[in-house]
Amino acid sequence: MTNNTITRSSTNSSSMSRILPLIMAIMLGVSVLAVAGHAQSPTLHGAAHDTRHATGFPCH
């Protein structure tokens, strides 16, 4: 079972190694948006307020 898993993952490794960086980039983008667009700390909210309203993020 373990051998089977290892064999299968090594055959997929070339496509995984191409897609993994892209998934990391997407996750980085989501993190940036979570902080800039959605996080509700009062300081962050105050600073990002006008842009959040203008870019259609749920605010307040």
Partner: protein, 229 residues
């Protein structure tokens, strides 16, 4: 490919965010500041009961506030740029092309996915309008964006007819379920200002996304030569 996507997102996101931020300051901010006068109760329109909802500083020219808006606009579009250019790169990995003209269409699709589709249920709000709880709106917003992104991807790239049907279902579902709505409509801001704000926010968002898509495809292409991995 990771560094190529990050570099592309930084350049394209900063350009789109700066341009979008300037358009926002010129076209959206005056409407927002006008609305805040109603929100804070400085002025009222007939029949309304102004609710004190926290002031957001002076309504006059406020340099710090405007610079923060520009900075956050750039941060938000770098964030969107990371996702957009990673998805473009996914197409390049499958030996497809993303020309600059196609990049423009990618950008417009991005606007539909993250701005227009959630805005169909939760229109861009002026400060002071009544709305449902923040958490429920954020969940609905996120789910709507995700469903719309998948739907647009299926429409653009899938060849199976069933995918088109699935896409229509994904496009409709968030709106059939419906966005969280407030229990009471009691916003102190006049509807004329609120609708003007929503229209301006959509217009500026569309322009920013068009620029983001255009420059994302451009920078992905010119960084192709120094891609080592």
């Amino acid at each position: 490919m990771f560094s190529r996507v990050v570099t592309t997102a930084l350049f394209a996101g900063c350009i789109a965010g700066l341009l979008g931020g300037l358009l926002q300051l010129y076209f959206v901010q005056p409407v927002l500041l006008h609305a805040e006068l109603y929100e804070s109760g400085t002025i009222t329109h007939f029949g309304s009961d102004p609710m004190a909802h926290g002031s957001h500083g002076d309504s006059e020219l406020d340099l710090t506030r405007d610079l923060l808006s520009l900075g956050f606009s750039m941060a938000i579009y770098v964030g969107y740029g990371l996702i957009l250019s990673a998805l473009m790169a996914l197409r390049l990995e499958s030996d497809q092309t993303v020309s600059i003209r196609q990049g423009l269409v990618w950008g417009l699709a991005g606007f539909i996915a993250v701005h227009f589709a959630p805005g169909f249920g939760l229109p861009p709000e002026v400060p002071g309008v009544a709305s449902a709880s923040l958490e429920s709106r954020q969940i609905w917003w996120g789910a709507t964006v995700l469903a719309t992104v998948i739907a647009l991807w299926l429409i653009a790239f899938s060849k199976a007819p069933i995918a088109f049907g699935l896409a229509v279902v994904l496009l409709l579902a968030p709106h059939v379920i419906g966005a969280p709505e407030p229990d009471m409509l009691m916003g102190p801001v006049p509807p004329e200002i609120a609708s003007h704000f929503a229209a301006r926010a959509f217009g500026v968002g569309m322009a920013s996304w068009a620029v983001l898509g255009l420059f994302s495809s451009y920078f992905l292409a010119i960084h192709a030569t120094d891609d080592v991995d």
